[in-house]
Symmetry: C2
Subunit: 633 residues, 2 copies
Amino acid sequence: MTTLIFKPGKVEGKFSKNTSLMDAAQELDVDIEGLCGGKGICGRCKVIIEDGYEYILPLTDSEEDLLSGGEIDKNYRLSCLAEVGDEGFIQVRVPSGSLRKGRIFLTEGEEVKFEKNPSVKKYYLKVSISSLKDSKGDYEILKDLLKREYGFNCNSIDYLVQKELPSLLRRKEGEKKDNWDINVTLWDEEEIISVNPGRNEDIFGIAFDVGTTTLAGYLMDLRTGETRAVSSSLNPQIEFGEDLMTRINYLIESERGRKKMHKKVIGGINNIIDNLIEEAGVKRREIYEIVLVGNTAMHHFFWEIDPVYLLRSPFIPARQASVKVKAREVGVNINPSGLVYWLPVSGGWIGADNVAVMLATGIYNNSENSLVIDIGTNGEVAFGNKEKAYVTSAAAGPALEGAQIKHGMRAQEGSIEKMEIDPEDLEPIYQTIGDKPPVGICGSGIIDAVAEMLSSGIIRRNGSFDEEKKGKNDRIRRLEGGLLEYVIAWSDECSMDANITITQQDVREIQKAKGAIQAASRVLMQELGTRKVDQVLLAGAFGNYLDKESAMIIGLYPECNLDKVKSIGNAAGTGAKLSIMSKEKKREAEKIPELVEFFEIAGTEKFRKNFMESMYLPHKNPELYPRVERLIG
Amino acid sequence: MTTLIFKPGKVEGKFSKNTSLMDAAQELDVDIEGLCGGKGICGRCKVIIEDGYEYILPLTDSEEDLLSGGEIDKNYRLSCLAEVGDEGFIQVRVPSGSLRKGRIFLTEGEEVKFEKNPSVKKYYLKVSISSLKDSKGDYEILKDLLKREYGFNCNSIDYLVQKELPSLLRRKEGEKKDNWDINVTLWDEEEIISVNPGRNEDIFGIAFDVGTTTLAGYLMDLRTGETRAVSSSLNPQIEFGEDLMTRINYLIESERGRKKMHKKVIGGINNIIDNLIEEAGVKRREIYEIVLVGNTAMHHFFWEIDPVYLLRSPFIPARQASVKVKAREVGVNINPSGLVYWLPVSGGWIGADNVAVMLATGIYNNSENSLVIDIGTNGEVAFGNKEKAYVTSAAAGPALEGAQIKHGMRAQEGSIEKMEIDPEDLEPIYQTIGDKPPVGICGSGIIDAVAEMLSSGIIRRNGSFDEEKKGKNDRIRRLEGGLLEYVIAWSDECSMDANITITQQDVREIQKAKGAIQAASRVLMQELGTRKVDQVLLAGAFGNYLDKESAMIIGLYPECNLDKVKSIGNAAGTGAKLSIMSKEKKREAEKIPELVEFFEIAGTEKFRKNFMESMYLPHKNPELYPRVERLIG
């Protein structure tokens, strides 16, 4: 018996002579990929022998054929063909490209595992067609070979590929014309979207998060599941307005506005594609798919669909199901036979970005109750479990990200990101990004400030400044016009002329924003008839920097053990990545609009009542936040 | 009981009160179309009440809705809603648009019946969507309505239509925005390819016969099955060579030759489309499909596929299956969301044109033995029955159409189309097209000439002029160089300077051409092990003018009762028409490459031997043509 250790993971077992490495791996639950089912055709189950090469039976002819010289020198073998030989000790490393499972890391070290099963895959074929006697067509011969070697029925071929098929099949130099030695790229094991001479395993896709403000692209290696490059930029549509309403109005009033809006965003997407190609050094024609997520207005802009009816009751989007269109039809600069795929839309107010967040969190598969808060320009809140889950839109506005706050700013160098207030003398301590002199205050700093002002009694539970505290520290001052403010940094500490303050108005803005989110959460919890929240998931960059306790003190989410609050980063982007890596995830996404039901709260009495109560810090009803109440006395 | 008579066909029956006209028709085997299954939604089952309107129950609301004012004035009713009333006598005319079956006439009064079931159909929907409560997308609502009203699952929508969908659905003026009143055009009951406001039943397609020399287009009314206009032109590729070899060589040697060749034929097709639109006065956007047939080289030219490998053994076409591509991808000027469909190809030598001929004849469904001879630049011969059928290519050359014959010409004014020779004095009588003075001799005239020269003994069974006859009439003369010829018309009868003659060389050309066809037929008959030919079908314009007895005398087909010889005209065009009118015919065509197996004769010993014997007039073996042999003595 020979001892085999598989890395990474270091699983170990003993195997008898002539056991293939793939069989051994299978027995040890190491998932090695094999498109051809262990027939020694696809060459995808490569492993590296790190120790004990001499205890493996010699290289087979097929391995010599399918492995490059360099790979052979580095002790690569195909696990379906390499067999255990004499008694000894062998250590095998399975490279990530050969593993059937991939993993994507979320912000807090959480990971999402997925079956690597992208819609686009490459299959290798090497065959002498002179042996084929019948008078079928090239396309039919190719179909039959794919059936014979890989066992599936492809039923179509992209027109551009069909045009070039005769020479693509026979192009490889130095080979006899009737020896085909090709890679065939398939979509969903059904449509041939590329044929290339020779062996080349490169296959890429790009996951896009198409935000109102920011476009972000992730170049994915579809073989390994790795993110090869990331690029982002401002959404160039900003030229037509920062917010969606302004853009839609521009579109309606401007001649050919719909086309302009469409071209702008396609241009932005193409720029990011160019950047990703340059950064990762990959070939444009090897990018076969892009998957996009974004809100429903961006969806309509991207696809050049009239968004006017999104603004009118009953707010019907032009389409709910996913969209799949050839890259050349949309003008996206990847392989022209490749596909552009946009995840399904839940409704006029809940877009594919939220569907992607749901996909990344999978709350509809979880028996515990999850509350997902996605804070962006348009906030979304979801709550539920595998029995029932709801999602709703909470028009929180951008205050929590620093907008509409007097000294608010995006998280940049010099912005105050953390702060505390001494409850005795009401003096602040703050921390800026990059330890630079302060220039403003970003989202996480504002939430800290409001929470600390509440804890130290500068403001009351209803958000008003406590006039009595005014005498205790001259940082509490009255502005012209009568409103009070609290000075966090005097102008001489700042790299600017003014003091950095939090005004009564700022506190009101935060109250409204968090109130909208809290009220939305509470309506959904009431609808589900439970106050039990087993985990809180914060989506969006915002969550990464947030002080969880401060957020709880102001009542952004229910009082709970803070270990249950997790920041999951750009979960929309993660959902897009999962969808590009796995057909099953695409199918799952298709069901999300039903699994996570849209619950309309806008204009309802229930929401209005909850909103009024949620404007209090942390909430009008002290019983909901007993610990916080003790803390703020 | 009320007596109902349905016209055309004049079937009659007695029915009780409240029987719908559609039910009555069904009982009498009159096939009235009804897309919605008698629910009074589609408005397709219109009939005209020619007599006894008063014995029908009054017009229903739905009929008032679905019929135009003009139609109501002309006593139109919807047969699914109009019910028999009081006792009386009613005469109903079913217009061809309301009949489920269509018919296409072949040349000799033969007709092909077909179920009208085109891939493209229009469905009418009138609905108030304000009653729909859920927050789905426009596309999903449309899908659900089509399911609810017509019972099928459409699963996709053309991208161009999806883009415009919100306004297309709501565009009709003077209507409330949330009242949809639309026609939806579907491909195969699956894909939405058009949405139009209001009720408009127009729906057209064009069947094309893409010949090496001639392009012919037939504008079909997809609702009625009628041919609304016909247009043909020279194939503009002739600029690059008259025959396919020359064109393929030009393509190989010329820069961007493949694109040029493609653009030429697409340009020709688009010209014909323009002509058809003008002639019939239809709208371009109402043309939703074109179906094309043609030989395999034309197939490759049209689709811009490299045809080089068609010339090299093993003569593999790039594709055998049918091709279906969006009109906008190919540059064909019909509705850009419409489809371009090319019937399947049998092989490198047997194209979709032959598949269409087979479809029109249906020999693979017939228990009797059929011999199909398609004479064109490249002749094809098929023989068989529903048990087994073969097709092969017979390189007959263009002699039978008048080319390569000294005074040969296409059938035009002044060409000799019929002739006889008096067996006593060897004097000819001839008839020209349009009774004009002769300018040459066309295909049917040449076959008459050779047959008459044989019957009258001017030439022998081996095709040589009989020297002994030379003295009997000075029309039999020796040319410079020693060859003999027979003068059909002296120059003073002609509107030209020369005599019109048939030379020894001309006779040889005819022998070779008919020899190739006869040999091909005989090889296939030997392969099937039978000499029994139950019918002979002559495809191509050529067959229309041919004297059937003359053709039998020279041995173009086996000796038989001439009633069994039928000219079926442009059967390739008929096959294309059938395919555009019926999905079932498209599916049937897909099976023809298997049902009618290609049998390779080129270069075989069997063909060579048969060809030598078939050069004789009518055949080397007199036992095969006993009546002809008695006739020619």
